[in-house]
């Protein structure tokens, strides 16, 4: 896949402007306003939170009840332009009947109006990228769940799109293929493409995402880089894990700061978990302490991850 040259800024974003979608009386998503920059963006939320609806809205498989969407300056109402730059791997696990993996990709590419030779070349390239060469001439109906996921991924990337929308793309993949696929997403994201992934496996989202969009009950509850989202959750103090030689002394020192609400010693006696309402001030204090006789080995945020953010923003909400 070739490196994508950066487009003008107004055409480099996926935007949702006050988008709502209702299925009769049922809410799909409501008042979604988003700007998604290039890189890997994960849609995170429980079942029914609106992840798939958001993806389907992007790809015109469903239409907004109100609001507007723009994909790098293109409206989803123009499929003839949109799908030149967008590939979508859906959650639907059904395929046109009777086709082999290669035939599936080849015939999909023929719909682009490409020549036989171009389609063959692109189909094989995509098949190689998802490691399905050996199974390419077998019927898709006989594929395992993981293979079907990969052939769908191949279909999404076959035409070298600038935007990839992938609905639960890691479902059903074995660990090795999962790692390869994540590496592929990273590569695509690093090439400046938009890779939008929905997943409910939070540690994977944490590993691959440049930014996250958290959804709950059809509403966007947070968006942006994980650290940024975390820092905005003021009702939950930031947790910082510190490994040092004198944790008890450190605990006494940190309690001098008003914003520190809790400090807990590690069972092994080699560290401390601190909860603070003002992370910036706390880090400055640590610098000062480090200069005054306590040897600090590592400092790391303990809840600066999708899992914690999800728990704080959505877990509590769903348990209410």
């Amino acid at each position: 896949m070739s490196q994508v040259s950066p487009p003008p800024i107004e055409q480099s974003l996926i935007t949702f402007d006050n988008v709502s979608r209702f299925y009769g009386e049922v809410l799909g998503v409501n008042r979604v306003t988003l700007s998604i920059p290039p890189g890997i963006t994960s849609l995170v939320g429980p079942n029914g939170s609106g992840k798939t609806t958001l993806m389907n809205l992007m790809t015109a498989l469903v239409r907004p009840t109100r609001g507007s969407i723009s994909i790098l300056g293109i409206s989803p109402d123009e499929p003839e332009n949109l799908f030149q730059i967008l590939g979508y791997s859906t959650q639907f696990d059904a395929f046109p009947k009777g086709l082999t993996g290669f035939q599936f990709l080849y015939s999909f590419l023929r719909l682009f109006g490409k020549t036989h030779a171009e389609c063959e070349k692109l189909a094989w390239k995509a098949i190689e990228r998802v490691n399905l060469v050996e199974a390419a001439h077998r019927k898709v109906a006989g594929y395992s769940k993981g293979m079907r996921q990969r052939i769908k991924l191949a279909q999404a990337i076959a035409h070298d799109p600038r935007v990839l929308v992938l609905d639960e793309p890691l479902n059903g993949l074995d660990p090795l293929v999962r790692a390869e696929t994540i590496a592929l997403f990273r590569q695509l994201g690093n090439e400046g493409r938009h890779v939008i992934v929905s997943s409910h496996i939070l540690h994977e989202v944490d590993m691959i995402s440049d930014q996250v969009i958290l959804l709950s009950n059809g509403y966007v509850v947070a968006e942006g880089k994980i650290s940024g989202v975390r820092s905005e959750i003021s009702e939950h103090p930031m947790q910082v894990l510190i490994r040092c030689d004198k944790p008890a002394a450190l605990a006494a020192k940190v309690f001098e700061q008003d914003s520190v609400v809790e400090a807990r010693l590690h069972a092994d006696g080699g560290g401390l978990l601190v909860k603070t309402r003002d992370a910036d001030r706390f880090y400055k204090l640590l610098n000062h302490i480090a200069l005054n006789g306590i040897e600090i080995e590592t400092v790391a945020p303990a809840d600066d991850n999708v899992n914690s953010v999800y728990e704080y923003l959505i877990g509590e909400e769903s348990s209410k």
Binding site: P79, E80, P96, K97, F108, G113
Partner: protein
């Protein structure tokens, strides 16, 4: 560039659809619909040939000339008839308490003459003239217009065209088409073309085979021109075109397409009884206008129903063809417009 792209995309859709429309298990019954009348006419050809052979054998044993048979009239006695024609090849007698009735059968090798006697007096003559080309052409015309067009092609087109979209909805595979950089109108055109090719091949082949089977008993008397084969095949193709567009739109737009299908069936069925102005808002009216032999609908019909028939002047062929093409185009444009708003919600379908 745009047209060539659209053309290439339509070709791609047709290529993908062809296999599905011709070889899908779901559509197998369409072949049965097309094959059924061929088998009926093949059976008829076989039966006629056997009947002729039998009559010839009878005629060889009881030779009677057509002139002698035609000279018999009611009022003659049984003795007079038998003196003139000789021994019948079949004689049946019914003896009642008050009177007797008898049937004497003769043949000239082509037709069967049955003379019915009450007592000794000839009361009725029945001529069974099986295999008369003129009469049978009318029978074929009636079959073609009232059975083949209205039912077999109608339901065949339902089977083929409704499934073009609705079948893919049921299989949950329609979204693959919608994820390609293709105008939805192009998709509609491609799918329609694929359905039309399948329907035309299946039903025009059936029409040709029916006519061939129909012609076999008449030998060289039934030429291609006399059979109006080109017209019948052309009308078949136009029926596929018209009904195809209607049912493609039904499959695209209705969650349960059987409701609009039932509506169209009722409308087309009631066409005979509609006022002249309303008759013209249907596919069957134009198709019947194009049929080479007009079948009298009131023949063999309940007299009360026959009273309800309203007649409308058949439309001239060029106008009927242009009308059908225009209606088809209109429906397809509308379907294309609605396809732009098409959403994928398999669960609710």
């Amino acid at each position: 560039m745009t047209w060539s792209l659209w053309l290439a995309q339509i070709q791609a859709v047709v290529r993908l659809e062809m296999k599905k429309t011709f070889f899908s298990r779901r559509g197998f019954w369409v072949y049965l619909l097309a094959l059924a009348p061929v088998l009926v006419f093949a059976g008829r050809a076989f039966d006629l040939a056997r009947n002729r052979q039998y009559l010839q054998e009878v005629a060889d044993g009881h030779s009677v000339s057509t002139v002698a048979l035609e000279s018999i009239h009611t009022g003659m006695t049984r003795q007079e008839v038998e003196e003139k024609l000789g021994e019948p090849y079949s004689r049946r007698v019914f003896e009642g308490r008050r009177n007797s009735r008898s049937w004497l059968s003769y043949t000239d090798g082509t037709s069967t003459y049955v003379f019915v006697f009450d007592g000794d007096e000839l009361r009725g003559i029945t001529v069974r003239d099986r295999g008369n080309f003129q009469d049978d052409s009318l029978i074929y015309a009636t079959f073609f217009q009232f059975f083949y067009l209205r039912l077999l092609i109608f339901f065949g087109c339902v089977g083929i065209f409704v499934n073009l979209f609705r079948g893919e909805m049921a299989n949950k595979s329609l979204h693959f088409y919608l994820l390609a950089p293709m105008r939805r109108e192009v998709l509609v055109a491609g799918k329609f073309l694929a359905g039309l090719i399948a329907a035309t091949v299946i039903f025009c082949t059936s029409t040709a085979l029916q006519l061939w089977m129909f012609a076999i008993p008449f030998g060289s008397a039934a030429t291609f021109e006399k059979l109006h084969a080109a017209s019948y095949i052309g009308v078949t193709a136009l029926a596929c075109l018209g009904y195809g567009a209607v049912f493609l739109a039904a499959g695209l737009l209705a969650v349960n397409p059987m409701l609009p299908v039932a509506g169209v069936l009722l409308w087309e069925g009631a066409n005979l009884f509609l006022p002249a102005a309303l008759k013209k808002i249907s596919i069957i009216f134009y198709l019947q206008s194009l049929c080479p032999v007009l079948a009298p609908p009131e023949k063999d019909m309940n007299p009360l129903l026959a009273l309800l028939i309203s007649s409308a002047e058949p439309t001239r062929a060029p106008l009927a063809i242009a009308g059908l093409l225009a209606v088809t185009a209109l429906i397809l444009v509308w379907a294309g417009f609605r396809a732009r708003k098409l959403e994928i919600s398999y669960s609710s379908d």
